[in-house]
């Protein structure tokens, strides 16, 4: 799993097996969760929805990690691909009665094509120029969704309501529990594919481009083509996350995908650990829970110490972010890896 983290020490075979067993156990437990609680209501459907959202954001963060962490390109516009994926699913289900499973490949293909095409010219742009171009995309897409002549399809500013599918085969599960399983299975597949990609020749080429574009070019790697393709794959990941989001949340509107979403995905990637697969999971947790928690925490804090000034919900979030970046520049995953390495090999005198 941690084969290509930038900070991965050469772990012993034994510990790798242990990690694998732990991971497998965790996945089995996660998958068994809906069956264990059934319809007892011990874990509410709302909680399952939140867990599903967390996994969906993890897929989106993973998509951005592939681009930023393993290929060295910055994007401030991935919320746009998320929106395209979500609307693809919503329009196909609502207007054309397509089965929800089929909307995932549809969103994937569409986002890959858009990402690839956007990537081609944009990739002549380096660093901050690319960041601005993608940021423009994030600003433009919600506006396009409100465009008058698209309204018959998108329903404009009011958005589209969907109905969550029920569990098939008469499984004793609620719609939310079933979709949680669907999201989990899709996520595992996406992570597995990402890992295999990174362990392959193209994956190594991606990292080579990140580390030294010029050197990679002289070794015969077609850097422009690679960069555009990675941009496409990254958009594909985020598009699938968007489609899943539409299905589980049962609602899309231009407001759901404002540029704040792009920032949230980027923050999740950086906080989790931008060049790490487990970091994407941590990023998903951060996007779904910490942001909302910070909002509530800020309120509680303001009330508790009777602050004379109105603390905005984002205040605490901002402070948390600054502290995290200073303490763990490699993200939480990087920080944990470093900590683990230090524990295993206590430095002399330490």
């Amino acid at each position: 799993m941690t084969a290509v983290t930038s900070t991965a020490p050469a772990a012993a075979e034994g510990s790798r097996n242990l990690t694998r067993t732990l991971l497998l156990g965790l996945l089995v437990l996660a998958a068994a969760l809906p069956f264990l609680v059934g319809k007892s209501g011990f874990i509410s459907n709302f909680t399952f929805l939140q867990l599903s959202l967390m996994i969906v954001y993890a897929i989106a963060v993973l998509g951005l990690n592939l681009l930023t962490g393993f290929n060295g390109q910055i994007s401030l516009g991935h919320g746009a691909f998320f929106a395209v994926g979500a609307y693809t699913a919503a329009i196909l289900i609502e207007q054309f009665g397509v089965n929800y499973w089929l909307t995932l490949p549809a969103a994937a293909v569409l986002c890959f094509v858009i990402g690839y095409l956007f990537g081609l010219p944009a990739l002549r742009l380096e660093g901050h120029y690319l960041a601005l171009a993608t940021f423009g995309l994030a600003i433009a897409v919600p506006q396009m969704l409100k465009y008058k002549h698209l309204e018959p399809l998108t329903n404009g500013v009011m958005g589209i309501n969907l109905l969550k599918p029920d569990a098939p085969f008469g499984l004793p599960l609620s719609g939310d529990q079933w979709m949680y399983l669907v999201v989990l299975v899709v996520a595992v597949g996406m992570f597995w594919m990402a890992r295999n990609l990174l362990n392959s020749r193209p994956g190594r080429a991606m990292v080579a481009i990140r580390d030294h574009t010029l050197a990679a070019g002289t070794m015969g790697i077609d850097t422009a083509r690679y960069k555009a393709t990675v941009f496409g794959i990254s958009a594909l990941y985020v598009g699938i996350a968007g489609a899943l989001h539409a299905i589980i949340f049962e609602f899309v509107s231009p407001d759901s995908f404002r540029f704040e979403l792009s920032i949230a995905i980027l923050v999740g990637a950086v906080v989790g650990g931008v060049a790490s697969l487990p970091g994407a999971v941590i990023g998903g947790i951060f996007v779904q829970f910490i942001e909302k928690y910070a909002d509530a925490m800020t309120k509680k804090l303001t009330q508790a110490i009777h602050l004379p000034l109105e603390l905005q919900p984002w205040t605490l979030y901002g402070i948390t972010l600054i502290v995290l970046i200073y303490v763990m520049p490699g993200g939480i995953a990087g920080g944990l890896a470093a900590l683990w390495a230090r524990l295993r090999r206590p430095s002399p005198g330490g």
């Binding site: 509410s44 309501n161 609602f251 404002r258």
Partner: protein, 409 residues
Amino acid sequence: MTEMKRRTVIAGLGALAVTPVFAPAIAQKRYDDGASDTEIKIGNIMPYSGNASAYGVIGRTSEAVMKMVNDAGGLNGRKINFITYDDGYSPPKAVEMVRKLVEEDKVLLVFNPLGTPSNTAIQRYLNQRKVPQLFVATGASKWGNPRQFPWTMGWQPDYVTEGAIYAKHILSTKPDAKIGVLMQNDDYGKDYFNGFKQGLGAANERKIVQLSTYEVTDPTVDSQMIQLKNSGADVFFNITTPKFAAQAIKKAAEIAWKPVHYLNNVSSSFGSVLKPAGIENSQGIMVALYRKDANDPQWANSPDVVAWKAFMAKYMPNADMRDDGHNFGFSVAHTLLQTLKQAGNNLTRENVMKEAANLKGFESPLLLPGIKVNTSPTDFYPIQSVQLARVKGESFELFGDVLSNESTS
């Protein structure tokens, strides 16, 4: 008003909400989620943050009304547990918060969620779950459709009716009007605008020389106002929520554009609109009202205004009395209390909905004289009358008759 007297008023108001303890033994107690022998759970979402946060006081007021009822012994002997969340006037957040209310907090009903976009986003879910979406704080015409959405009911006069009334007034007072319209670009704005066009009639639609729109996420409407002035319009129909309404009034004064100004009812607040925009800039603005301006001396002695003032003094002592949200919240909360009172010990969602559609001539506090709440199984529009008023000094001067539109679509 002495402390003693105020207490009597509040006690009296509390007593209003308590029916005899001797309920007939035949009355079977029946409950759904959120109701029991001791408690009624009510869910609510409001924009406490974001561009429409001026409306947040409505939620705070409803909360305070429930506290008042609880202090007086509760409703039919049950304490009211009022749970309110912030949705930031954002539909996706509204969806998430309403799901939390229904699935985690297990409320009996969702009361007075605010805004057309948010209510549109949650309507399908609530109707599918058969959870009452009661007395929504939006006047879109679509909230009165019991056949398709039997679990959704509006409260205030609908926007289509109100828009048509302004149009008719323009036609009768200024037949050669050149009309400019500023509209929030969503279903709320379009609803008003459609009613307005209906009121004008197809032949007169060309009198609209300029339609400018804005998004609720926009920072200002300054450029739209300049556009409207440059169109040469001499009549202005202002379809905006409070923050933007105040901006528009202020900007009109800044650029010295002085049209005949009609402002939609949802921004008829001195506290959150006219005062921030400048009282002198607001003189002469016309608005359709259905509630008394409780600060207006002419109502000083009417019992509901006296009761409201006592309530405000005790439960919201630091609030801005000029903010119409307190007035709205107080009135709509009492319509809910009346509905629950009628439901008695049969607190199922179905029965709550049945009683909401069985309000007959109920005088919710602070409604204008002659305006009452009426519903039936086919009429889900509780309030359907308004009266025109104009801003004069620091209050509204009513003129003309109470205009009604008793539709039963």
